[in-house]
């Protein structure tokens, strides 16, 4: 599904990614771990299409297409979803209007008619239940005045609405209490289908108790320094990142 080869990238002339290679197959869940500043969020930003990250070398292929040549909106329409570490507040734009526009742009891309108002509201209702999001939030402006937990739930709600093939969840667990974490993780698990894949970026094992990865990678100083099964996350929880740094 996703194939990253020798990816090197810089922000403002500073090299952040120093040659990343990663294969995500259909149906797999990958966890991307690593200390602060190792390049996890930069990788997520490249995959979602942020323009401030400059790709210097390497390729990213998604379902046979050159991902790096696609606009951010086309990546989304092709099934890539980024769950933001810091979701953006957009005053004056209602959640309903936001999601209606997004869903219909996806439909247009697939050659489908826009959803009728009633079908759309029905869809919203279903998906809201899935992530246990408060109905009132849907009538408010996008993320405006939402608590940290509400913002993260709102990310998963958007994921539910857009039904991505590849979801990249960037520290979706940060700032969540244990109940919110459970709700968010359950939401992700219920959305997971055999034909979809997930990349979970996290610092902590606790999210991986709920969303169980097939593969765990450790990113350090712009490189993947370790790849193993889910037991790697437990080892990191126990020992921290220092032993990996030392092995370097």
């Amino acid at each position: 599904m996703l194939s990253i080869k020798n990816l090197k990238a810089a922000i403002d002339g500073k090299i952040i990614l120093k040659g990343i290679s990663l294969e995500v197959k259909v149906g797999e869940i990958h966890a991307l771990m690593g200390p602060n500043g190792s390049g996890k969020s930069t990788l997520a930003a490249i995959l979602a299409g942020r323009e401030f990250v400059k790709v210097l070398e390497g390729t990213v292929t998604y379902n046979g297409k050159n991902l790096l040549e696609m606009t951010a909106e086309d990546r989304s329409r092709e099934g890539i979803f980024l769950g933001f570490q810091y979701p953006i507040e957009i005053p004056g734009v209602s959640m309903v209007n936001f999601m209606k526009t997004a869903v219909n742009e996806h439909r247009k891309y697939k050659g489908l008619e826009p959803l009728s108002a009633s079908d759309f509201l029905k869809l919203m209702r279903e998906k809201k239940e899935l992530v246990e999001i408060d109905s009132k939030l849907a009538n408010r402006s996008v993320n405006e005045g939402f608590s940290g937990g509400e913002k993260k739930k709102n990310e998963i709600f958007q994921m539910a609405m857009l039904e991505p093939k590849l979801a990249i969840l960037d520290e979706t667990d940060s700032g969540l209490d244990i109940d919110a974490l459970r709700i968010v993780a359950n939401g992700v698990n219920r959305l997971k289908r055999p034909d979809t894949s997930i990349i979970v970026i996290t610092h902590y094992q606790r999210l991986l108790d709920y969303i169980v990865p097939d593969v765990v990678h450790v990113l350090y100083d712009g490189r993947i320094v370790k790849t193993a099964g889910k037991e790697l996350a437990l080892k990191l929880e126990e020992k921290g990142y220092d032993w990996i740094k030392r092995e370097e």
């Binding site: 909106e73 980024l82 933001f84 953006i88 957009i90 005053p91 004056g92 734009v93 997004a102 996806h106």
Partner: protein, 452 residues
């Protein structure tokens, strides 16, 4: 300077030549203001950039021009206005049409609404409500240093009169449609007086439109009295063409514990200048002053707000926003004046602007004069581009860049629109703003027909 003095002369001459005709239609009381006002105008002249409140607005191109000014409505105007009134009868509002500043209706020049409320022509009202007019007319513009206010007092021919007696509550808004329509370039001035007595409530919607493409200049003054514990809202929707100049002066005088709101929505217009004066003239009064403008091409929109906190424990809130495209220019001056006795004042001001090109220009200036100690005041202004992070957030959900930009601008504008207390109008304005942002909105005679 010499140019401008020349322009002032032009209007003084206009006054001399036509004052007899103008006075014939008005009451002696209203006429008694004319001579002193023209002397005052002679002294002050037309505002120039030397005047602090007109620093960012150049009136020359519109005032140095030969307009036809007429002081009696014509037969054909009556027909036109009647036809338009028929169009708007579907609205859930009490409609009034002013054509070129006149109230050209043969019947119903003054109408009674439920609750003893009256709306109609100011000249007509002078016959029936002479005492009310003597109590309020010319009182709230008193002492103003803007030459144009005095020019209006000197020459305005007619306008709208609204009277809401003590305790009366008007559920439906009153909608005043100001039309400018002529085969020639015209200059027109009208004068509105609105009296909302103690414990009364009403909402006014004013819609400014041009129907023909000629060059127009309008200079309008509205005086509003809001009695003790009364509640008054005014929404102005401006949608004129690029060859029209609209200058409005609105004076809202509030008594104790009253609430008032003003909302100036400028969708289109060549040169627009709104000055809104809020006088908090009693304890516990609260006022809100909002505005939104969308300008492109070479349009210029200037909002001047003046809030006078003359009594203790009053609250005021200003929120003005602008979106500027192409080569448009804009200005905002927000003045808060807290008098020495006005302890416990809360006064807030916010001005935010989005610049869409490098060729636009926005001037924004807060002016706070605070003479009391126990005061909470804040002001802030921003001038910037659309937020890249927000733009990316929308795009990352599959929304095209173009659509994402529109959504952000719409959201920005909606923060002003959402304060309008008439739901149907709010929705209508949201639609109009969206159309305007998409570049689909031109003139909107049709807009009014479907307004509510």
């Amino acid at each position: 300077m010499s140019n401008n003095a020349g322009s002032s002369e032009r209007y003084i001459k206009l006054y001399r030549e036509n004052i007899e005709k103008v006075s014939r239609l008005s009451s002696p009381y209203i006429n008694s203001f004319r001579e002193p006002a023209i002397s005052e105008f002679k002294k002050l002249g037309l505002p120039t950039k030397v005047n602090e409140t007109y620093r960012y607005t150049n009136l020359d191109t519109f005032f140095n021009h030969d307009y036809r000014s007429y002081f009696m409505p014509e037969e054909s105007d009556f027909v036109k206005a009647e036809a338009f009134r028929c169009d708007v009868t579907d609205l859930d509002a009490h409609g009034i049409v002013l054509l070129n500043g006149f109230y050209p209706t043969i019947r119903d020049k003054l109408r009674e609404l439920p609750g003893g409320i009256w709306i109609g022509s100011l000249n007509e009202a002078a016959k029936k409500f002479g005492d009310k007019i003597e109590k309020h007319y010319g009182k709230y513009v008193n002492g103003n240093s803007d030459g144009l206010v005095h020019l209006n007092t000197a020459m305005a021919s007619d306008g709208v009169f609204v009277y809401v007696p003590e305790g009366a509550v008007l559920k439906k808004p009153v909608q005043i449609v100001n039309l400018v329509d002529s085969g020639e370039d015209i200059f027109n001035q009208h004068r509105n007086l609105m009296i909302v007595e103690k414990n009364a409530e009403m909402t006014i919607i004013i819609c400014d439109h041009t129907l023909s493409p000629q060059k127009f200049l309008t200079n309008a003054v509205t005086e509003i009295y809001v009695g003790e514990n009364a509640n008054f809202n005014i929404v102005r929707v401006q949608n004129e063409h690029n060859n029209a100049a609209k200058i409005t002066h609105t004076f809202i005088h509030q008594e104790q514990n009253s609430t008032a709101s003003s909302n100036n929505i400028t969708l289109h217009g060549g040169l627009v200048r709104n000055s809104t004066h809020h006088f908090l003239g009693g304890e516990g009064a609260e006022t809100r002053s909002y505005g939104l403008f969308l300008a492109d091409k070479r349009q210029h929109v200037d909002n001047f707000v003046n809030v006078d906190h003359a009594f203790p424990h009053c609250t005021s809130n200003q929120l003005f926003k602008g979106v500027l495209d192409d080569m448009a220019t804009g200005a905002f001056i927000g003045r808060i004046h807290v008098h020495q006795d006005a302890q416990g004042t809360m006064a807030y001001q916010q001005n935010n602007n989005i610049l869409l090109t490098d060729d636009v220009k926005m001037d924004t200036k807060p002016q706070l004069e605070i003479y009391a100690d126990d005061v909470k005041c804040s002001h802030g202004a921003t001038v910037g581009q659309l937020d890249d992070n927000a733009l990316f957030y929308l795009q990352s959900r599959g929304i095209s860049k173009r659509e994402a930009r529109l959504m952000l601008m719409f959201g920005f504008a909606h923060e002003v629109i959402q304060n309008i207390n008439v739901e149907a109008l709010r929705e209508r304005l949201d639609n109009l703003v969206m159309q305007r942002l998409r570049g689909e909105l031109s003139r909107c005679a049709s807009c009014m027909v479907k307004c509510m």
